[in-house]
């Protein structure tokens, strides 16, 4: 089945999402969103009339947390820990790449 070329829309240019929209998109229930906010791994970009609004890029984090929880048999705290460690590894890889570049340049 071949469809015409589809536009790829950068998530960071999407409008912010309500908690409900985020839940629908990621197929999770609100308790996961609340837990991720309480754990400090997800931050509402803004609040409107007391309601949380999330950047659309949150879809990636929330889906990843849900997959880790489902596939690795860990609870939400475990998934959060994994996400944090993955972020840290990513940051270290970037620093390492910079350091290697610097070492070559000097």
């Amino acid at each position: 089945m071949q469809t015409p070329t589809q536009p790829g829309l950068p998530l960071d240019e999407h409008p912010p999402m309500t908690t409900n929209a985020l839940c629908r998109t990621c197929r999770v229930d609100t308790t996961l969103i609340v837990a991720l906010v309480q754990e400090g791994i997800l931050e509402p970009a803004a609040t409107r009339d007391g309601e949380w609004l999330f950047s659309a890029t949150s879809v990636v984090r929330v889906s990843r947390a849900a997959r880790l929880r489902r596939d690795l048999g860990v609870n939400t705290a475990g998934a959060v820990l994994a996400l944090e460690l993955l972020d840290e590894i990513d940051a270290l890889h970037r620093r390492l790449a910079r350091a290697e570049r610097h070492a070559r340049d000097v």
Binding site: T3, T5, Q6, V106
Partner: protein, 313 residues
């Protein structure tokens, strides 16, 4: 179809206990989970592992699988025995891997179609199909001119006769200009089809394929530029490539190796665009013939210079 050696996939012996199999699964799942692993074939390995665990982790299915005997080798041509499944009853899938319909032909011949047994909160009725998450490698040049990438997705589809089949579906995705590594693209309506025909969305995490010349740091690019000793010493205007086209780079007199010269706005497009850093590499011509040797000897005699002074020697 090819025989699958589930014991080899999980790295356990045929007499492993259920507890050992579970431990092996947990360990390998952490290693190959596509969200965790940096291995290039992680997704395929994780699926293979999920399938192996679905069989070996379930004592009923494992017993049936063991019935096939231990003489089979992975990859060997295989047909299920004619009386297959006669003596077994499967009490439904006990383990649900993330994506239904992605089991191997081998698995399906033995145990039939697999259905999604997702986490409780994902089982709620959904009008649209599941979203797909995938990664795509794009060329740096795509960030400059935009580009198109063909993505192949496999998703389960309920057909008119009520049977579930895996359908491969290809979608050409337009990569917008100005994309950077790590950004996620949403492609509406290109996930898996849902019960009411409305498909989920496709989420594509974009990464740059390593480039032979340019290194990327956020929106900046780094390019090694080889120069001759006289270009570095006397200064010169040299031609250098940039993804946006060849430009002239002015090398100031007395430029040392490793010096970074900035070409403002020649990095990845954005507002403001990134910069391109030309990293100077001084390259020495070989002194393999007599005239070249004479030139270097003259420099040695007439240019008193100790580059190791700062080292105190």
């Amino acid at each position: 179809m090819e025989f699958r050696d589930y014991y080899a996939v999980m790295g356990v012996s045929r007499d492993a206990t259920q507890e050992e199999i579970k431990r092996a699964y947990r360990k390998l799942a952490r290693k190959y989970h596509p969200d965790v692993s940096k291995e290039p074939d992680a997704e395929a390995r994780f699926k293979e592992l999920g399938e192996a665990y679905e069989v070996l982790g379930d004592p009923e299915k494992r017993a049936a699988y063991d019935e096939l005997g231990s003489q089979w080798k992975a990859g060997e041509e295989f047909r299920p025995p004619p009386d297959w499944q006669a003596g077994f009853e499967f009490s439904g899938a006990s383990f649900g891997d993330g994506d239904a319909g992605e089991a191997s032909d081998f698995f399906e011949a033995l145990f039939g179609r697999r259905f999604r047994q997702g986490h409780a909160d994902e089982r709620a009725w959904q009008p649209s199909g599941p979203d797909h998450h995938a990664r795509v490698l794009v060329d740096l040049e795509d960030a400059f001119s935009g580009g198109t990438r063909r993505i192949t997705l496999r998703s389960p589809v309920v057909e008119a006769d009520g049977r579930v089949r895996t359908r491969e579906h290809q979608v050409d995705v337009r990569i917008p200009r100005g994309i950077v590594s790590g950004q996620v693209l949403r492609v509406p309506g290109q996930g898996a089809p849902g019960p009411e025909g409305k498909a989920g969305d496709l989420y594509l995490e974009v990464r740059f394929r390593p480039h032979p010349h340019y290194r990327v740091a956020d929106r900046d690019l780094y390019l090694d530029v080889p120069v001759t000793p006289w270009e570095a010493a006397l200064g010169e205007s040299v031609r250098v490539p940039t993804p946006g086209g060849v430009v002239d780079l002015r090398i100031p007199p007395g430029t040392g190796s490793g010096r970074q010269l900035r070409l403002k706005g020649r990095g990845l497009p954005a507002s403001p665009p990134g910069d391109l850093y030309a990293v100077i590499r001084i390259v020495v011509p070989p002194a393999t013939n007599e005239p070249a040797r004479q030139l270097f000897l003259r420099m040695k005699e007439e240019l008193p210079f100790n580059p190791r002074r700062s080292l105190g020697v």
